[in-house]
Symmetry: C2
Subunit: 195 residues, 2 copies
Protein backbone atom coordinates (compact mmCIF):
# COMPACT_ATOMS: atom_id res chain seq x y z
CA UNK A 1 0.00 0.00 0.00
CA UNK A 2 3.03 2.25 0.36
CA UNK A 3 5.34 0.95 -2.34
CA UNK A 4 8.33 3.17 -2.93
CA UNK A 5 7.89 5.24 0.24
CA UNK A 6 10.50 3.37 2.24
CA UNK A 7 13.91 2.18 1.12
CA UNK A 8 14.24 -1.21 -0.61
CA UNK A 9 17.99 -0.94 -1.09
CA UNK A 10 20.22 -1.71 1.88
CA UNK A 11 21.19 1.14 4.20
CA UNK A 12 24.78 2.12 4.87
CA UNK A 13 25.63 2.79 8.53
CA UNK A 14 28.98 4.36 9.38
CA UNK A 15 30.02 3.87 13.00
CA UNK A 16 32.89 5.84 14.54
CA UNK A 17 34.09 6.53 18.03
CA UNK A 18 37.34 6.88 19.94
CA UNK A 19 39.44 3.84 20.87
CA UNK A 20 37.93 2.52 24.08
CA UNK A 21 34.40 3.79 23.33
CA UNK A 22 33.32 0.16 23.07
CA UNK A 23 32.31 0.20 19.39
CA UNK A 24 33.09 -3.47 18.85
CA UNK A 25 31.19 -4.75 21.87
CA UNK A 26 28.15 -2.63 21.02
CA UNK A 27 28.23 -3.73 17.38
CA UNK A 28 28.47 -7.40 18.37
CA UNK A 29 25.33 -7.00 20.49
CA UNK A 30 23.46 -5.28 17.69
CA UNK A 31 24.44 -7.90 15.14
CA UNK A 32 22.54 -10.49 17.18
CA UNK A 33 19.31 -8.65 16.29
CA UNK A 34 20.02 -8.30 12.58
CA UNK A 35 21.35 -11.52 11.06
CA UNK A 36 21.23 -9.79 7.68
CA UNK A 37 23.43 -6.85 8.69
CA UNK A 38 26.76 -7.06 6.89
CA UNK A 39 29.78 -5.68 8.70
CA UNK A 40 32.51 -4.70 6.30
CA UNK A 41 35.97 -5.93 7.26
CA UNK A 42 38.47 -3.06 7.25
CA UNK A 43 41.81 -3.55 5.53
CA UNK A 44 44.76 -2.39 7.63
CA UNK A 45 48.53 -2.37 7.81
CA UNK A 46 48.56 -2.31 11.61
CA UNK A 47 49.87 -5.30 13.56
CA UNK A 48 47.37 -7.79 14.90
CA UNK A 49 46.88 -7.36 18.67
CA UNK A 50 47.43 -10.32 20.94
CA UNK A 51 44.20 -12.28 21.27
CA UNK A 52 42.53 -10.35 18.45
CA UNK A 53 40.43 -12.67 16.26
CA UNK A 54 41.82 -13.21 12.76
CA UNK A 55 38.71 -11.99 10.92
CA UNK A 56 38.42 -8.70 12.81
CA UNK A 57 40.55 -6.93 10.17
CA UNK A 58 42.04 -7.86 6.85
CA UNK A 59 45.75 -7.51 7.72
CA UNK A 60 47.97 -6.59 4.76
CA UNK A 61 51.48 -5.23 4.19
CA UNK A 62 52.10 -1.60 3.25
CA UNK A 63 52.97 -2.68 -0.30
CA UNK A 64 49.68 -4.57 -0.64
CA UNK A 65 47.79 -1.58 0.76
CA UNK A 66 49.39 0.78 -1.78
CA UNK A 67 48.37 -1.56 -4.55
CA UNK A 68 44.71 -1.45 -3.39
CA UNK A 69 44.83 2.37 -3.29
CA UNK A 70 46.45 2.68 -6.72
CA UNK A 71 43.91 0.37 -8.35
CA UNK A 72 41.02 2.34 -6.78
CA UNK A 73 39.70 -0.64 -4.87
CA UNK A 74 39.10 1.32 -1.66
CA UNK A 75 36.02 3.42 -0.89
CA UNK A 76 38.14 5.45 1.53
CA UNK A 77 41.45 5.12 3.31
CA UNK A 78 43.20 7.02 6.07
CA UNK A 79 46.18 6.97 8.39
CA UNK A 80 45.36 6.50 12.07
CA UNK A 81 48.06 6.25 14.77
CA UNK A 82 50.59 5.77 11.96
CA UNK A 83 48.80 2.80 10.36
CA UNK A 84 46.76 2.63 7.17
CA UNK A 85 43.08 1.65 7.26
CA UNK A 86 40.82 1.27 4.25
CA UNK A 87 37.32 0.13 3.23
CA UNK A 88 37.04 -2.14 0.19
CA UNK A 89 34.63 -0.63 -2.34
CA UNK A 90 33.06 -3.50 -4.27
CA UNK A 91 31.72 -5.70 -1.44
CA UNK A 92 30.00 -2.70 0.17
CA UNK A 93 28.22 -1.68 -3.04
CA UNK A 94 27.29 -5.30 -3.83
CA UNK A 95 25.68 -5.87 -0.43
CA UNK A 96 23.69 -2.62 -0.63
CA UNK A 97 22.47 -3.51 -4.12
CA UNK A 98 21.30 -6.87 -2.81
CA UNK A 99 19.18 -5.04 -0.21
CA UNK A 100 21.40 -5.86 2.75
CA UNK A 101 22.36 -3.23 5.34
CA UNK A 102 26.07 -2.56 5.69
CA UNK A 103 27.98 -1.35 8.74
CA UNK A 104 31.35 0.33 8.36
CA UNK A 105 33.31 0.74 11.57
CA UNK A 106 35.75 3.49 10.65
CA UNK A 107 37.59 6.47 12.08
CA UNK A 108 36.46 10.07 11.71
CA UNK A 109 38.63 10.82 8.65
CA UNK A 110 37.46 7.71 6.83
CA UNK A 111 33.86 8.42 7.82
CA UNK A 112 34.03 11.90 6.31
CA UNK A 113 35.37 10.42 3.04
CA UNK A 114 32.57 7.85 2.92
CA UNK A 115 29.95 10.55 3.53
CA UNK A 116 31.35 12.55 0.60
CA UNK A 117 31.33 9.48 -1.66
CA UNK A 118 27.93 8.21 -0.41
CA UNK A 119 25.80 11.07 0.93
CA UNK A 120 22.99 8.70 2.03
CA UNK A 121 25.29 7.07 4.58
CA UNK A 122 23.88 7.25 8.11
CA UNK A 123 26.60 8.54 10.44
CA UNK A 124 26.71 7.27 14.02
CA UNK A 125 29.23 8.32 16.66
CA UNK A 126 29.70 6.16 19.77
CA UNK A 127 31.05 7.92 22.84
CA UNK A 128 32.01 6.80 26.33
CA UNK A 129 30.02 8.60 29.05
CA UNK A 130 33.09 10.69 30.01
CA UNK A 131 36.84 11.07 29.37
CA UNK A 132 37.51 9.62 32.83
CA UNK A 133 35.66 6.43 31.89
CA UNK A 134 37.51 6.34 28.55
CA UNK A 135 40.90 6.53 30.30
CA UNK A 136 39.84 3.78 32.69
CA UNK A 137 38.81 1.53 29.79
CA UNK A 138 42.00 2.14 27.79
CA UNK A 139 44.15 1.26 30.80
CA UNK A 140 41.92 -1.68 31.75
CA UNK A 141 42.51 -3.21 28.33
CA UNK A 142 46.15 -3.57 29.37
CA UNK A 143 47.36 -4.07 25.80
CA UNK A 144 48.86 -0.64 25.14
CA UNK A 145 51.95 1.02 26.67
CA UNK A 146 51.53 4.35 28.48
CA UNK A 147 52.53 6.55 25.52
CA UNK A 148 49.94 4.82 23.31
CA UNK A 149 47.25 5.33 25.98
CA UNK A 150 48.17 9.03 26.17
CA UNK A 151 48.07 9.38 22.38
CA UNK A 152 44.70 7.62 22.18
CA UNK A 153 43.30 9.96 24.84
CA UNK A 154 44.55 13.03 22.97
CA UNK A 155 43.13 11.66 19.72
CA UNK A 156 39.83 10.97 21.44
CA UNK A 157 39.47 14.66 22.33
CA UNK A 158 40.03 15.60 18.71
CA UNK A 159 37.61 12.96 17.44
CA UNK A 160 34.83 13.84 19.88
CA UNK A 161 35.03 17.47 18.75
CA UNK A 162 33.93 16.19 15.30
CA UNK A 163 30.91 14.31 16.66
CA UNK A 164 28.62 17.20 15.72
CA UNK A 165 29.08 16.38 12.03
CA UNK A 166 27.45 12.97 12.59
CA UNK A 167 23.71 12.21 12.40
CA UNK A 168 23.46 10.35 15.70
CA UNK A 169 25.41 10.11 18.94
CA UNK A 170 25.16 6.92 20.97
CA UNK A 171 26.41 7.16 24.54
CA UNK A 172 27.92 3.86 25.64
CA UNK A 173 27.26 4.06 29.37
CA UNK A 174 26.09 0.45 29.51
CA UNK A 175 26.59 -1.92 26.59
CA UNK A 176 22.99 -3.19 26.59
CA UNK A 177 21.59 0.37 26.54
CA UNK A 178 24.03 1.52 23.86
CA UNK A 179 23.19 -1.54 21.75
CA UNK A 180 19.48 -0.78 22.14
CA UNK A 181 20.08 2.79 20.95
CA UNK A 182 22.03 1.62 17.91
CA UNK A 183 19.44 -1.06 17.15
CA UNK A 184 16.72 1.60 17.43
CA UNK A 185 18.53 3.85 14.97
CA UNK A 186 18.68 1.01 12.44
CA UNK A 187 14.97 0.16 12.90
CA UNK A 188 13.97 3.84 12.73
CA UNK A 189 16.00 4.50 9.59
CA UNK A 190 14.10 1.71 7.88
CA UNK A 191 10.83 3.49 8.70
CA UNK A 192 12.05 6.79 7.23
CA UNK A 193 10.17 8.12 4.26
CA UNK A 194 12.28 8.28 1.12
CA UNK A 195 12.19 11.79 -0.37
Amino acid sequence: MLDGLTQARGLLFVVSGPSGSGKDTVLEEVEKFFPNLWRCVTTTTRARREGEPEGSYSFVSEAEFRCLVDSDQLLEHAVVHGNYYGTPRKPVLDQLDEGRDVVLKIDVQGAASVKRAMPDAIMIFIVPPSFAVLEQRLRGRGTDPEDVVQRRLADARGEVSLASSYDYIVCNDHVADAADRLRSIIVAEHCKVVR
Copy 2:
Protein backbone atom coordinates in the same frame (compact mmCIF):
# COMPACT_ATOMS: atom_id res chain seq x y z
CA MET B 1 31.36 15.31 27.30
CA LEU B 2 28.86 16.17 24.59
CA ASP B 3 26.79 18.91 26.18
CA GLY B 4 24.49 20.66 23.78
CA LEU B 5 24.84 18.08 21.02
CA THR B 6 21.62 16.27 21.81
CA GLN B 7 18.25 17.75 22.70
CA ALA B 8 17.50 18.60 26.34
CA ARG B 9 14.03 19.94 25.59
CA GLY B 10 11.24 17.41 25.11
CA LEU B 11 10.55 16.14 21.60
CA LEU B 12 7.17 16.50 19.89
CA PHE B 13 5.91 13.40 18.08
CA VAL B 14 2.89 13.70 15.82
CA VAL B 15 1.19 10.38 15.10
CA SER B 16 -1.41 10.04 12.34
CA GLY B 17 -2.97 7.16 10.49
CA PRO B 18 -6.34 6.15 9.12
CA SER B 19 -9.17 4.97 11.39
CA GLY B 20 -8.52 1.28 11.95
CA SER B 21 -4.74 1.54 11.53
CA GLY B 22 -4.43 0.65 15.20
CA LYS B 23 -2.84 3.92 16.36
CA ASP B 24 -4.29 3.68 19.87
CA THR B 25 -3.21 0.11 20.52
CA VAL B 26 0.30 0.80 19.24
CA LEU B 27 0.59 3.97 21.31
CA GLU B 28 -0.59 2.17 24.44
CA GLU B 29 2.17 -0.41 23.97
CA VAL B 30 4.81 2.27 23.44
CA GLU B 31 3.70 4.24 26.50
CA LYS B 32 4.66 1.26 28.66
CA PHE B 33 8.31 1.88 27.70
CA PHE B 34 8.29 5.63 28.33
CA PRO B 35 6.58 6.53 31.58
CA ASN B 36 7.61 10.14 30.92
CA LEU B 37 5.95 10.38 27.50
CA TRP B 38 2.98 12.73 27.68
CA ARG B 39 0.07 12.01 25.38
CA CYS B 40 -1.95 15.10 24.71
CA VAL B 41 -5.71 14.65 25.04
CA THR B 42 -7.51 15.91 21.95
CA THR B 43 -10.54 18.14 22.38
CA THR B 44 -13.48 17.08 20.21
CA THR B 45 -17.13 17.75 19.54
CA ARG B 46 -17.80 14.19 18.40
CA ALA B 47 -20.00 11.89 20.48
CA ARG B 48 -18.34 9.46 22.84
CA ARG B 49 -18.42 5.90 21.46
CA GLU B 50 -19.94 3.13 23.51
CA GLY B 51 -17.31 1.66 25.82
CA GLU B 52 -14.81 4.43 25.05
CA PRO B 53 -12.92 5.47 28.20
CA GLU B 54 -13.82 8.96 29.47
CA GLY B 55 -10.25 10.32 29.32
CA SER B 56 -9.58 9.27 25.72
CA TYR B 57 -10.82 12.65 24.45
CA SER B 58 -11.91 15.88 26.03
CA PHE B 59 -15.53 15.96 24.86
CA VAL B 60 -16.99 19.45 24.46
CA SER B 61 -19.98 21.10 22.81
CA GLU B 62 -19.67 23.02 19.52
CA ALA B 63 -20.14 26.29 21.42
CA GLU B 64 -17.31 25.42 23.82
CA PHE B 65 -15.09 24.43 20.91
CA ARG B 66 -15.70 27.75 19.13
CA CYS B 67 -14.78 29.57 22.30
CA LEU B 68 -11.42 27.72 22.44
CA VAL B 69 -10.74 28.59 18.79
CA ASP B 70 -11.70 32.26 19.23
CA SER B 71 -9.45 32.68 22.27
CA ASP B 72 -6.49 31.05 20.41
CA GLN B 73 -6.17 28.23 22.91
CA LEU B 74 -5.72 25.55 20.23
CA LEU B 75 -2.44 24.66 18.51
CA GLU B 76 -4.47 23.34 15.59
CA HIS B 77 -8.01 22.31 14.86
CA ALA B 78 -9.73 20.56 12.01
CA VAL B 79 -13.01 19.00 10.93
CA VAL B 80 -12.94 15.23 10.44
CA HIS B 81 -16.02 13.21 9.49
CA GLY B 82 -18.10 16.31 10.35
CA ASN B 83 -16.74 16.68 13.90
CA TYR B 84 -14.28 19.20 15.28
CA TYR B 85 -10.96 18.08 16.76
CA GLY B 86 -8.36 20.33 18.32
CA THR B 87 -5.08 20.26 20.26
CA PRO B 88 -4.78 22.50 23.32
CA ARG B 89 -1.72 24.75 22.98
CA LYS B 90 -0.52 25.52 26.51
CA PRO B 91 -0.15 22.01 27.99
CA VAL B 92 1.89 20.87 24.96
CA LEU B 93 4.35 23.76 25.20
CA ASP B 94 4.59 23.41 28.99
CA GLN B 95 5.48 19.71 28.81
CA LEU B 96 8.13 20.28 26.12
CA ASP B 97 9.68 23.10 28.16
CA GLU B 98 9.88 20.76 31.14
CA GLY B 99 11.88 18.31 29.00
CA ARG B 100 9.08 15.80 28.59
CA ASP B 101 8.30 14.21 25.21
CA VAL B 102 4.80 14.84 23.88
CA VAL B 103 2.72 12.67 21.56
CA LEU B 104 -0.10 14.17 19.55
CA LYS B 105 -2.42 11.67 17.93
CA ILE B 106 -4.04 13.73 15.22
CA ASP B 107 -5.44 13.53 11.71
CA VAL B 108 -3.50 14.51 8.59
CA GLN B 109 -4.96 18.05 8.41
CA GLY B 110 -4.16 18.76 12.06
CA ALA B 111 -0.70 17.22 11.66
CA ALA B 112 0.10 19.56 8.77
CA SER B 113 -0.98 22.56 10.88
CA VAL B 114 1.21 21.44 13.81
CA LYS B 115 4.21 20.98 11.49
CA ARG B 116 3.75 24.53 10.21
CA ALA B 117 3.50 25.89 13.76
CA MET B 118 6.30 23.69 15.15
CA PRO B 119 8.74 22.67 12.40
CA ASP B 120 10.77 20.44 14.77
CA ALA B 121 7.79 18.12 15.22
CA ILE B 122 8.61 14.53 14.27
CA MET B 123 5.91 13.22 11.96
CA ILE B 124 4.94 9.55 12.11
CA PHE B 125 2.30 7.86 9.97
CA ILE B 126 0.89 4.49 11.05
CA VAL B 127 -0.54 2.32 8.29
CA PRO B 128 -2.25 -1.03 8.20
CA PRO B 129 -0.42 -3.59 6.04
CA SER B 130 -3.11 -3.32 3.32
CA PHE B 131 -6.52 -1.81 2.56
CA ALA B 132 -8.05 -5.30 2.82
CA VAL B 133 -6.80 -5.60 6.40
CA LEU B 134 -8.05 -2.08 7.16
CA GLU B 135 -11.55 -2.93 5.94
CA GLN B 136 -11.53 -6.10 8.02
CA ARG B 137 -10.51 -4.14 11.15
CA LEU B 138 -13.13 -1.42 10.64
CA ARG B 139 -15.90 -4.02 10.26
CA GLY B 140 -14.53 -6.10 13.14
CA ARG B 141 -14.86 -3.13 15.45
CA GLY B 142 -18.63 -3.45 14.95
CA THR B 143 -19.31 0.07 16.20
CA ASP B 144 -19.91 1.86 12.90
CA PRO B 145 -22.80 1.49 10.42
CA GLU B 146 -21.98 0.53 6.82
CA ASP B 147 -22.00 4.07 5.43
CA VAL B 148 -19.50 5.17 8.11
CA VAL B 149 -17.23 2.21 7.29
CA GLN B 150 -17.37 3.14 3.60
CA ARG B 151 -16.58 6.79 4.35
CA ARG B 152 -13.67 5.82 6.60
CA LEU B 153 -12.26 3.58 3.87
CA ALA B 154 -12.52 6.37 1.30
CA ASP B 155 -10.89 8.81 3.74
CA ALA B 156 -8.12 6.30 4.44
CA ARG B 157 -7.16 6.29 0.76
CA GLY B 158 -6.91 10.05 0.80
CA GLU B 159 -4.91 10.08 4.04
CA VAL B 160 -2.46 7.38 2.93
CA SER B 161 -1.71 9.42 -0.18
CA LEU B 162 -0.35 12.10 2.17
CA ALA B 163 1.96 9.71 4.04
CA SER B 164 4.93 10.83 1.95
CA SER B 165 4.91 14.21 3.71
CA TYR B 166 5.67 12.48 7.03
CA ASP B 167 9.14 11.67 8.40
CA TYR B 168 8.44 8.04 9.25
CA ILE B 169 5.99 5.34 8.24
CA VAL B 170 5.22 2.57 10.71
CA CYS B 171 3.50 -0.46 9.26
CA ASN B 172 1.14 -2.00 11.82
CA ASP B 173 1.21 -5.61 10.67
CA HIS B 174 1.55 -6.90 14.24
CA VAL B 175 1.03 -4.63 17.24
CA ALA B 176 4.24 -5.72 19.00
CA ASP B 177 6.35 -5.09 15.87
CA ALA B 178 4.70 -1.75 15.16
CA ALA B 179 5.20 -0.69 18.79
CA ASP B 180 8.87 -1.67 18.57
CA ARG B 181 9.23 0.47 15.44
CA LEU B 182 7.59 3.46 17.09
CA ARG B 183 9.64 2.97 20.25
CA SER B 184 12.80 2.78 18.10
CA ILE B 185 11.92 6.05 16.38
CA ILE B 186 11.59 7.77 19.77
CA VAL B 187 14.90 6.33 21.04
CA ALA B 188 16.69 7.19 17.77
CA GLU B 189 15.37 10.75 17.71
CA HIS B 190 16.89 11.28 21.15
CA CYS B 191 20.29 10.22 19.76
CA LYS B 192 20.04 12.70 16.87
CA VAL B 193 22.62 15.45 16.79
CA VAL B 194 21.11 18.91 17.20
CA ARG B 195 22.17 21.19 14.32
